[in-house]
């Protein structure tokens, strides 16, 4: 997992979030989940993708702290290192 880059994670997170509803070009690191209409159910699905792809386990308490897409990317990258 050491080879995972922030760019790769960002691309995967944006792709996954876009499959939940928002347009991909709407999604940036600064976007809040609230403005993207991404809720706790969506974040659980995102966590499943992240675990499958990067072996990173995100629990409910981890997700509660996430406000922006960038928060999620940073958390995943830090855990994957």
């Amino acid at each position: 997992m050491a080879t995972v880059t922030a760019e790769q994670v960002e691309a995967r997170v944006v792709e996954t979030l876009a499959s939940f509803g928002p347009d991909a070009d709407q999604i940036s690191r600064e976007s809040t989940f609230e403005e993207l209409d991404i809720d706790s159910l969506d974040l659980v699905e995102l966590a499943q993708v992240v675990e499958d792809d990067y072996g990173v386990v995100l629990k409910g308490e981890d997700m509660k702290e996430l406000k922006t897409v960038g928060d999620a990317i940073d958390l995943i990258v830090s855990r994957a290192e």
């Binding site: 499959s19 939940f20 509803g21 209409d37 159910l41 659980v44 699905e45 499943q48 499958d52």
Partner: protein, 414 residues
């Protein structure tokens, strides 16, 4: 919540009118497609199933709605959108949202979701199941989706009584308004069970037609043809609808419901409880059999139902009258929509009363001695009104479990 006075007495029952109709059925997207194609003698059944092939979710739903909703709830949402627009509710709700109820029934619920998630459970384990699994399959998911999309904040729930679910929803909505618990209620039913589990299970029961033909009351009938779809009606208190100048499509005047307490799947042969449901509905409407101009039958195309329904109609209406009332089955054109059937058939019934033209029992040709009433063979015919009043129709729904529901509708003044 009721407007009871200090002694607990309720004010008099309010009249309840229909102001909006919506449907997605095997005959197309829209209530007019359902009615006009049925009236033209068309049938939406192909290869032994009534599928909503013209319904393309991505054209009418957002990505989020498609992902979050099982097909039965998607169908309900689209039918509800049509019904609310028909009522002129699409720009803004005409009442306090807390005074608008929402009852969208289903017989089975989100079975496609259950089947897909069960595959995930078996193949990848419980941790990979979607968090949307339960909320998408739950029986109240369609009601919840309609409530959320349109901001309906009064009483909201689903009812489940298999193939009479949609009719029960209308009865519950009628009472909710009559007893002042709501000013309006969006009612309906939805079903999408054209899945391996659905076909396999109904096949094992030997309930489905092996020939794949839905021909209610015909001597050659050999089982029902499963269909999918949704029907939604907007019901409003007549006084409130008049105050806002609403277009009135008809009135729900009677509701009666009983149970057979007899067998899990077979109707009680004498039809005594079904008869009683029809009598209760007529009493509720304050009319006698002579005032019924049309019967929209449950008419499933099974040997047992169609014979038992015929017997019940004769007992409830009296033989003389029963032979003179035209009876047709929507299922001849769309198949059996299970929990959506009662609602879709109510939509078709109101349209029949509005158009004053009775669609036929499509494909009916060979009489059965046990089914000897007038099932409107061949083609549509003009609806003849007794005494020149707005026409009145009875709509029946019966179901596995022994449910019997009868509804009475009155057409609008022409």
């Amino acid at each position: 919540m009721s407007d009871a006075d200090s002694n607990g007495h309720l004010p008099s029952r309010r009249r309840v009118v229909v102001t909006g109709l919506g449907a997605v059925t095997p005959l197309g997207v829209g209530s007019e497609m359902l009615y006009s194609r049925w009236a033209a003698g068309e049938c939406g059944i192909f290869d032994g199933a009534g599928a909503c092939t013209d319904f393309e979710p991505s054209e009418v739903l957002t990505v989020k709605e498609m992902r979050r909703l099982d097909r039965f709830a998607q169908l309900a949402l689209v039918a509800a959108g049509e019904a609310l627009a028909d009522s002129g509710w699409d720009r803004e709700l005409p009442y306090d949202p807390m005074r608008i109820g929402c009852i969208v029934a289903t017989g089975i619920g989100g079975i496609q979701t259950i089947e897909m998630q069960h595959d995930v459970l078996r193949d990848r384990g419980p941790a990979r199941m979607s968090p949307l699994g339960i909320p998408a399959q739950m029986s109240n998911a369609a009601a919840a989706a309609v409530s959320m999309k349109f901001g309906l904040k009064g009483q909201m729930y689903s009812v489940a009584s298999a193939c009479s679910s949609g009719a029960h929803a209308i009865g519950c909505g009628l009472r909710m308004i009559q007893y002042h618990d709501a000013d309006a209620v969006v009612v309906g039913g939805a079903e999408a069970t054209l899945t391996p589990f659905g076909f396999g299970s109904f096949n094992s029961m030997q309930a489905l037609s092996p020939t794949g033909i839905s021909r209610p009351f015909d001597a050659r009938r050999d089982g029902f043809v499963m269909g999918e779809g949704a029907g939604v009606l907007v019901l409003e208190a007549a006084d409130a609808a008049a105050a806002r100048g609403a277009k009135v499509l008809g009135e729900v005047t009677g509701y009666g419901s009983t149970s057979d307490a007899y067998h899990l799947t077979a109707p009680e042969p004498s039809g005594a409880a079904a008869t009683r449901a029809i009598e209760l509905a007529l009493n509720d409407a304050g009319i006698g059999p002579d005032e019924v101009d049309y019967v929209n039958a449950h008419g499933t195309s099974t040997q047992l139902n169609d014979a038992a329904e015929t017997a019940a109609l004769k007992r409830a209406l009296g033989e003389d009258r029963a032979y003179r009332i035209p009876i047709s089955s929507t299922k001849s054109a769309v198949g059996h929509l299970l929990g959506a059937a009662g609602a879709v058939e109510a939509v078709a019934t109101v349209k029949t009363l509005t158009a004053r033209v009775i669609p036929p029992t499509v494909g009916y040709e060979v009489p059965d001695p046990d089914c000897d009433l007038d099932y409107v063979p061949g083609e549509a015919r003009p609806l003849v009104m007794s005494n020149g009043h707005p026409p009145v129709a009875l709509s029946n729904s019966f179901a596995f479990g022994g449910h019997n529901v009868a509804l009475v509708f009155k057409g609008a003044q022409s």
